[in-house]
């Protein structure tokens, strides 16, 4: 087999080329199919299409479009416009709800689950939404409980649920018994956005210090600061490393205001550097600007 392969190498190369071509064509077909889908979606939601579909209803032209096809198109159009509306809500309201059926046959409340969808934007792009699924496990009560969720651990979800979605039979009296779903959703979204903003600020600071791109990593950076990174899960603390061995910590609060900063030099605290970096900055973004201007 091997010997025949080596002897037939020119033919094989032809076969390889054919394989390559086929693969390329397949990819092309795939992308064209996607294009068609996209064009269809765009066409379907266009105002003129709607007019066309609805105007044709009275003036019958049986030769060109049969009633069944038109019906299908109308259904498709309605589906598409519903989707468009949903997307619009998702993009603008950022918190949307949906219904899920729990696949577990023993699920509480007949498997009815309410899903909350949180849209978060990072670097000008929507990332995968975060989801919180709620169900009603308590007998004869309408109280909700978090069933499943995809919120990362760095968001204090348990604290939020204890605040806004308390367990109905709580023994402590100081905890409010009423559940407030909309406040819960708003607070959770706020936490999510703040977390991503804090992480983004740290990224910006990295860039400002000349550490951002991967290219800079390959060639030994000649910047004064050699490392900037988040030092904790919530991205509230920034650790800074200088080339000469100084290391610092910048602490910000939930909203990105500077709480304090400490720099440890070779001989004790280095207050000069702190003054240099902060320079009376109130927000972390100002620190970034100062780093940029240097």
């Amino acid at each position: 087999m091997d010997s025949s392969r080596t002897s037939m190498s020119p033919e094989l190369s032809v076969a390889d080329r054919l394989h390559d071509e086929i693969a390329k064509l397949r990819a092309r077909v795939e992308s064209l199919k996607n294009d068609v889908k996209l064009q269809t979606a765009t066409l379907m939601t266009a105002n003129s299409t709607r007019e066309l579909l609805q105007s044709q209803a009275p003036s019958n032209q049986p030769s060109t479009t049969s009633a069944a096809v038109k019906q299908k198109l109308l259904a498709r159009f309605q589906e598409q416009s519903a989707h468009k509306q949903q997307c619009l809500y998702r993009a603008c309201a950022t918190i949307t709800t949906f219904k899920v059926k729990d696949p577990d046959p023993n699920a509480v409340d007949g498997g009815n689950v309410l899903g909350l969808r949180f849209e978060i934007m990072v670097k000008g792009k929507f990332i995968r939404p975060y989801y919180v699924m709620l169900n009603r496990p308590y007998v004869n009560r309408r109280h909700l409980r978090v069933h499943r969720h995809t919120v990362p651990q760095c968001i204090p979800l348990s604290g939020l649920t204890a605040r806004y979605l308390p367990v109905p039979a709580a023994k402590d009296d100081d905890i409010p018994k009423e559940q407030d779903l909309s406040r819960f959703a708003r607070a959770l979204r706020r936490e999510l956005v703040r977390y991503h903003n804090r992480a983004a600020v740290i990224g910006d600071m990295k860039k400002a210090a000349g550490l951002g791109s991967k290219k800079a990593l390959d060639q030994e950076p000649d910047t004064e600061i050699v490392d900037i990174s988040a030092a904790d899960a919530e991205a509230k603390q920034i650790s800074l490393q200088w080339r000469d061995g100084r290391s610092g910590r910048l602490v910000m609060n939930d909203d990105g205001e500077v709480v304090k900063m400490v720099v440890q030099g070779n001989n004790g605290q280095d207050r000069d550097t702190v003054r240099q970096v902060l320079g009376g900055a109130v927000r972390v973004e100002e620190v970034t600007k100062r780093l940029e201007s240097r």
Binding site: D102, D104, A107, V139, T150, G159
Partner: protein, 569 residues
């Protein structure tokens, strides 16, 4: 090298402390490693940055003739520079040979003065990375305790030691501060050596704690020759692997993974456990700060697989969205694109008709391609079979999502379930009564027949257990139920059940002590395979069988794991 004076102290053991190379435990530690990993380990030791912690024996550059004579009949004559030594070991890497050769060279040649504790730790960690399944990890959750508002509160014991549920704070972990505090918690007659390491490819920080029974932190603590025979014996036992505890801190997650005893003999078992208890007790104290106290809570999750642990308790999105819910947890770039609100294409849910349609086409074309000389009724049988298999596959996909695949490397090797539900009674009069009794616990509006379903489920489980040996060797079900043990003699078992049922007729709820323990390299993947093969009905399967609760030990009530484990809160 030993300092002239050894005083009892509370300090930790320094990393540079040397252990005599004739110590049998050192030989054991090195002999566990394979030759390639041993050589890469030695090359790590020879890095210039590690020289303060693991210096090899190098000939002094004195150019004295006596020195030459001294090492003349040495089996492994010391080299004079670090680079030379490195070259020597790199050479060994390219050459074939035995592990013994390398171990001998290390112990009798280049590190004849002994290996430091740091080197031992590195060797131990290397073994752990080479054999990731050797340790069993238990997961603990870090919880914040309430800060007493006033001194009186503490005295009145009111707000003391209660978990602060309202805390909007994620615990932060700082390695060196943590170590300092942990050292303060360790008893003064015990000395510990700590070593932090970041395993490649896992987002966690690994802390190795190695404990010695000695009040000293000098050579005296590790040397066998310094004391009487009894101290020799003590030293030998004290280097046992069971005195090593690993603690893993996953990145950005308020959980801690603590290793359970590794290959401990029966004699050291109690000792190990107490040692572990000591560390587990010390960890929350070490994490706490003034006005910020934490406690650890067990999470009923124990596994040997750190990857599985990280996917259930890590920093990602999959913590509280396991099983079929994992369709919501994917955060790859493609996921973000398809689920973006700016995507104008109509969504195609994973199990919708569109997605299934392509499958249909495929199977149809496959069937057309088959030779047509088969009988028609056989063909329809095949088609029926095909349909059933496809349905089973789809329901497995619905229940497990993209989780629990055999090759995902997230295998949990053991799951223990205690069933607290009443035994399913098949009689119709019983059923209505049972339902009446359950109303208090269940939502009355639910249109379901738990009894019939359960009994079907159980019988299918039984079948699986019986057909296990030849059918599916990787999933062994062991049933500790006394009734199930007689399952090979089914009529008798049924008779007994009926009698029991008669006796408990007043209660209408017979609750046998049923414990299920599922073993295998990947328990939930095994269940998924059984669903795909049609042995388990995917639609009637209870949720805990998909692993979506994220526990390996739990009690099932009303068909669900008690305590809302799946939400991760």
């Amino acid at each position: 090298m030993a300092p002239p004076l050894s005083l009892p102290t509370t300090a930790r053991l320094p990393s540079s402390l040397r252990v005599n190379s004739s110590n049998p435990s050192i030989i054991k530690v090195l002999n566990r490693l394979s030759r390639p990993s041993l050589l890469s380990l030695v090359l790590d030791w020879l890095e210039p940055s590690n020289q303060s912690l693991c210096p090899p024996f190098i000939r002094e550059n004195l150019s004295d003739d006596e020195d030459e004579d001294e090492f003349d009949n040495d089996l492994y004559p010391p080299v004079s520079t670090l680079a030379e030594l490195r070259e020597l070991y790199v050479d060994m890497q390219t050459r074939k040979g035995s592990r013994r050769e390398v171990v001998d060279r290390i112990l009798e040649g280049d590190w004849r003065e002994g290996l430091t504790l740091y080197q031992l730790a590195m060797a131990d960690l290397q073994y752990l990375y080479d054999h990731p399944g050797t340790l069993k990890w238990a997961c603990y959750k870090i919880q914040r305790l309430k800060t007493p508002g006033h001194e009186d509160d503490v005295e009145a014991d009111r707000n003391y030691d209660t978990v602060d549920r309202l805390a909007m704070h994620v615990p932060r972990f700082h390695p060196s501060t943590f170590l300092q505090n942990l050292q303060a918690e360790v008893l003064p007659d015990v000395k510990a050596h700590y070593n932090f390491d970041r395993p490649k490819g896992l987002p966690l920080l690994l802390l190795r704690i190695f404990v010695l029974d000695s009040p000293y932190n000098t050579d005296l603590a590790v040397s066998a020759a310094s004391g009487s025979t009894s101290s020799v014996a003590r030293t030998v036992t004290s280097f046992d692997a069971s005195r090593t505890i690993y603690v893993a801190f996953p990145d950005a997650s308020p959980h801690i993974f603590v290793s359970k005893s590794q290959s401990a003999g029966p004699t050291t078992h109690a000792e190990t456990r107490s040692l572990r208890a000591l560390v587990v007790e010390g960890i929350p104290k070490a994490l706490s700060r003034p006005r910020e106290r934490y406690s650890l809570k067990t999470t009923d999750l124990q596994t040997k697989n750190l990857d599985a642990m990280l996917s259930l308790r890590g920093s990602g999105r999959s913590n509280a969205a396991a099983g079929g819910w994992s369709v919501y947890a994917g955060d790859k770039a493609a996921d973000a694109r398809t689920h973006s609100p700016l995507n104008s294409l109509l969504p195609t849910p994973p199990l919708s008709d569109d997605a299934a349609g392509e499958d249909d086409e495929e199977t149809a074309s496959f069937r057309n391609g088959e030779p047509n000389n088969l009988k028609r009724n056989f063909d329809s049988e095949v088609a029926e079979d095909e349909k059933r298999r496809k349905r089973a596959r789809l329901s497995a996909q619905a229940r497990f999502g993209d989780n629990a695949k055999m090759d995902d490397g997230k295998g949990i090797e053991r799951v223990d379930i205690l069933i607290e539900d009443p035994f399913p009674v098949t009689g119709i009069d019983f059923e209505t009564d049972n339902d009446g009794q359950d109303v208090g616990e269940l939502n009355a509006s639910r249109p379901r027949k738990p009894k019939g379903r359960r009994s079907n489920m159980d019988s299918s489980l039984l079948e699986d257990a019986e057909g296990d040996e030849d059918e599916d060797s990787e999933l062994h079900r062991q049933d500790h139920d006394r009734d199930r043990d007689t399952s090979d003699n089914l009529p008798r078992a049924i008779g007994r059940r009926a009698r029991e049922g008669d006796r408990d007729r007043e209660k209408w709820a017979w609750r046998p002590n049923v414990r299920l323990s599922l073993h295998g390299p990947h328990v939930f993947a095994g269940i998924r395979q059984l669903v795909e093969a049609g042995f388990i009905d995917g639609e009637r399967m209870p949720g805990w069988m998909t692993g979506e609760d994220g526990v390996t030990r739990g009690a099932v009530k009303n068909g669900r794991i008690k305590g809302f484990k799946g939400s991760g809160l």
